[in-house]
Point group: C2
C-alpha cells in the first residue's frame, strides 16, 4: 500500500482506467447486434494499428496461440521455412514449425544480435525450397529490434512469405504491415495494446491468404478462413473473450485520440530516457545498436545477481521488472516501458533499479542519472523518432 | 436505461460484482509470487468444482479450444472414437476428431434426445477398435442432459476413455468426475462459472494422463503435459488471461462460500420454475424428460417465429435469450438461467417471454404463470435436487 505497484515488464503492462472499467461492464452476448457493432469498430482501429487494409482477426488465446495459428494456417507439413532464431521467441517459432511438421532452416544468432537481411537473402538464394521466413519484430527475450523492413524487401524479391511476430512491437514502434510488405503480422493484447493477456490478433496479406487457402488442414481451433468468414459478419468463429474485447474498444479509442505518431514518439522518448539513465549508472546495454522500443535490457556486471535485483525492486519499491530468460538468467534485467507507462513510472523504475543494484552489491557514483534520463527523454520527445 | 440488461442465455452469463471488480484490478505479472498464489488457490477451487483429485488445467481459449485440446492431446491420428452426436456441440466433437485424423464412429441422435447408454455399450461391443467416447454432459443446442454417469459405467467396463464436454454443465448440475469415472472433463468460463468467456478448464483421470503421454504430438499451443508441468510450479505454459483468472479466484470463493450443494439446489429450482412457467403458458418443452439444468428449451407453436421473439424480448424488455441453432432456428427459444441468475431474473424473463410471445402472434390464456413458476421454484428449493 505504501508504494504503488508499477509493472515495468515487457508484458503484461499496466491498464488504463478506461480499459479496466470497460472490462467490468455488464456481460453481453457475442452473437447480438451490440457486440457486432463493437467488433466492427475495433476492426477499424486494428487495421490502423497494423497499417493494413486487410482484416485483422481477433483470436482468443495468448500470443503464442497466434504464432501457432499463423504457422499451422500458412504452411503444410513437409514445407520448408527459415526461422531467425535470435532469442527465446525465435526458438519458439522453430518449435512450432517443427510441431507442424515443417522442415526448419534455423538461422541461430547470438542472443543480443539482430537479424541480418544479407544472411536471410543468402539463405533464400542457397535453398529455393524455403517458402517462408519467420521472425520477431522485437525479440522480447533480448530487447533487440530486428530490421523487419529490410528483411521484407528480401522476402518479397524471393517470393517467400514473411511472418512477423509483433507481440512486443505492435503499438510500440512503427510496423506498417502493408507498406513494408509483411505477409503475416500478429500480436498479443498485453503489451503495446494496454490490455490484459488473453487476446491475440493476426492479419494476412493477399498473398498469405492465397497460401492459407492451399495449406493442409491444421488446428480446428485456429481456423483462419473460418475466422475470416465470421469477421465479415462482425462475429468470431467461437465465443470470444467478450470483456477483453470491450477493453480493446477503449484501448483503440485511446490510440485514435492520441494518434499513432504521438504514441511512437512517447515510446521512443521513454526508450532513450531509460537507456540514458542506465548508461549514466555506468551499466552496459545488452542491445547496444538494434534496440527495441519499450524494453531496455540492462547487462549486469559480474557479481550482481539479476534474479535477486528484480526481487528486491519488487519487494522494496513495488517496481516489477523482468529478469533474463534461459541463458541470460541473472545476467540481465529487462526494464519494460511499453504501453500505459509514462516518464513518472520510468523515474520510479530507475530509482528502484539503482537502489536495488546497490543492495545487490553493484556500485555507481553517478548522482544525476535521473536528470540525465529525463534530459534524454525530453530531447527525444522534442526531436521525434527516426524512420525505421 | 429504463430496463436493466438481463442475460438469460446459455452463456455468456451475468457477472457478479466481485468478479467485475477483480478484473478491473491492477495488472500483475504471471511469473511472480503473487500470481502463483492465485493459481494455487484457484486450483483447489477447481478441483472441488470438478470433483477430482487430479489437477485442473486452466487454458486461455474458448470452450471449443479445450475440446480441441482434449481430442488432440488424448488420441492419435488413425485411432477410432465414438461421438454421441445429439446436437450442434456433438457435431463439433466429430469435426474436431476428424480434423485430428481420427476415425469417427458417430452416433447421431434426433435433436432433443439424450444419449442411450445401451447404444454406447452396443457400439463398444461391436467395434473393439473404439478407444474413446466423446460426449456432452449438457447439449447446449437442445437443452438435453445426457446420462454421463451411466455412460461412464459402460466406458469403464470396456476400457474406453470417456471425454465429457461439461461446458454448460460444470457448476450447474452435479458432475463429480472421479466418482462417476469420467476420464476427461472440460468446461468454459462463461457459463456456470460466472465469468466472461476466454478461459477453459480441463482435467484428466490417471488413465487419461497415461494415454496423453503416448499420443502423437498434436497442437503446440494445447500441450497438456507442458501445462501440467507448469501447473506443478503454479504457473501456466504460456501467458494466461490474468484478469480472467483474477475473476476466477472471486468466482470460486463465491462457490466455496455457498457450497456446491446450495448452488445445484438453486439451479435445479430455477430450472423447475422456468419449466413450470413455460408449461403454464401452454408451451411444450423441447427436452421433456432428460433436461439440462440452467437452460430451458421452449418449443414454439407453428406460426410463432423464435428469431423475432428473441429480438422483441431484447429490444422491449432488455431480456436476452437465445434462439435455436441450425435445424432448430426459429423453432425453439433457449432460456438460460445458469450462473449468476436468480428468481427475480427468471420472473423478468418469463414476463418478457410471454409478452414477446403475444406480440409474435402466440396466444396464452393463463393469468397465473408467474405464480406457478414461483411455486415450482419454491417447492424444488425446499425438496432439493434428485440424484443424477
Amino acid at each position: 500500500m505504501l508504494n504503488k505497484l508499477r509493472l515495468l515488464t515487457p508484458g503484461p503492462t499496466p491498464l488504463p482506467e478506461e480499459v479496466r472499467l470497460a472490462m467490468a461492464r455488464d456481460m453481453v452476448h457475442h452473437r447480438k447486434a451490440g457486440f457486432k457493432a463493437v467488433l466492427a469498430e475495433v476492426q477499424e482501429g486494428l487495421k490502423a494499428l497494423f497499417g493494413t487494409a486487410q482484416p485483422v482477426l481477433p483470436l482468443t488465446c495468448s500470443g503464442t496461440g497466434a504464432m501457432d495459428a499463423a504457422v499451422s494456417g500458412l504452411f503444410s507439413p513437409g514445407e520448408k521455412v527459415l526461422v531467425v532464431e535470435a532469442g527465446k521467441f525465435g526458438q519458439r517459432f522453430t518449435q512450432i514449425a517443427r510441431r507442424r511438421g515443417l522442415l526448419v532452416a534455423a538461422q541461430p544468432l547470438p542472443w543480443g544480435q539482430a537479424a541480418d537481411p544479407a544472411m536471410v537473402r543468402y539463405a533464400l538464394e542457397a535453398d529455393k525450397d524455403i517458402v517462408g521466413v519467420l521472425m520477431q519484430a522485437s525479440e522480447t527475450s533480448t530487447g533487440v529490434l530486428h530490421p523487419v523492413r529490410e528483411v521484407a524487401t528480401v522476402t518479397k524479391s524471393h517470393g517467400a512469405l514473411l511472418v512477423v511476430d509483433g507481440i512486443s512491437a505492435v503499438g510500440v514502434s512503427p510496423l506498417p504491415m502493408d507498406e513494408w510488405g509483411v505477409d503475416c503480422l500478429l500480436t498479443g493484447s498485453q503489451k503495446g495494446l494496454m490490455l490484459p493477456p488473453g487476446l491475440a490478433f493476426l492479419a494476412l496479406s493477399e498473398k498469405a491468404w492465397e497460401r492459407a487457402a492451399k495449406a493442409a488442414p491444421g488446428s480446428f481451433y485456429f481456423d483462419l478462413a473460418g475466422e475470416l468468414a465470421n469477421l465479415k459478419k462482425h462475429q468470431t468463429l467461437f465465443t470470444p473473450a467478450v470483456s477483453l474485447i470491450a477493453g480493446l474498444q477503449e484501448s483503440l479509442r485511446l490510440f485514435k485520440a492520441e494518434g499513432l505518431e504521438a504514441v511512437y514518439r512517447k515510446q521512443w522518448a521513454l526508450t532513450l530516457g531509460c537507456r540514458a539513465g542506465a548508461r549514466a549508472l555506468g551499466l552496459d546495454l545488452f542491445a547496444p545498436k538494434h534496440f527495441a522500443w519499450g524494453l531496455t535490457s540492462v547487462a549486469l556486471p559480474e557479481g550482481v545477481d539479476g534474479v535477486r535485483l528484480v526481487q528486491v525492486a519488487a519487494e522494496k519499491y513495488g517496481v516489477v521488472m523482468a529478469g533474463g530468460q534461459d541463458q541470460l538468467k541473472g545476467r540481465i534485467v529487462r526494464v519494460g516501458h511499453m504501453g500505459h507507462v509514462d516518464f513518472g513510472d520510468l523515474l520510479a523504475g530507475l530509482h528502484a533499479f539503482n537502489r536495488s543494484f546497490a543492495i545487490c552489491g553493484g556500485f555507481s557514483a553517478c548522482d544525476d542519472y535521473l536528470e540525465r534520463a529525463m534530459a534524454a527523454y525530453e530531447e527525444a520527445l522534442e526531436q521525434g523518432y527516426p524512420a525505421l
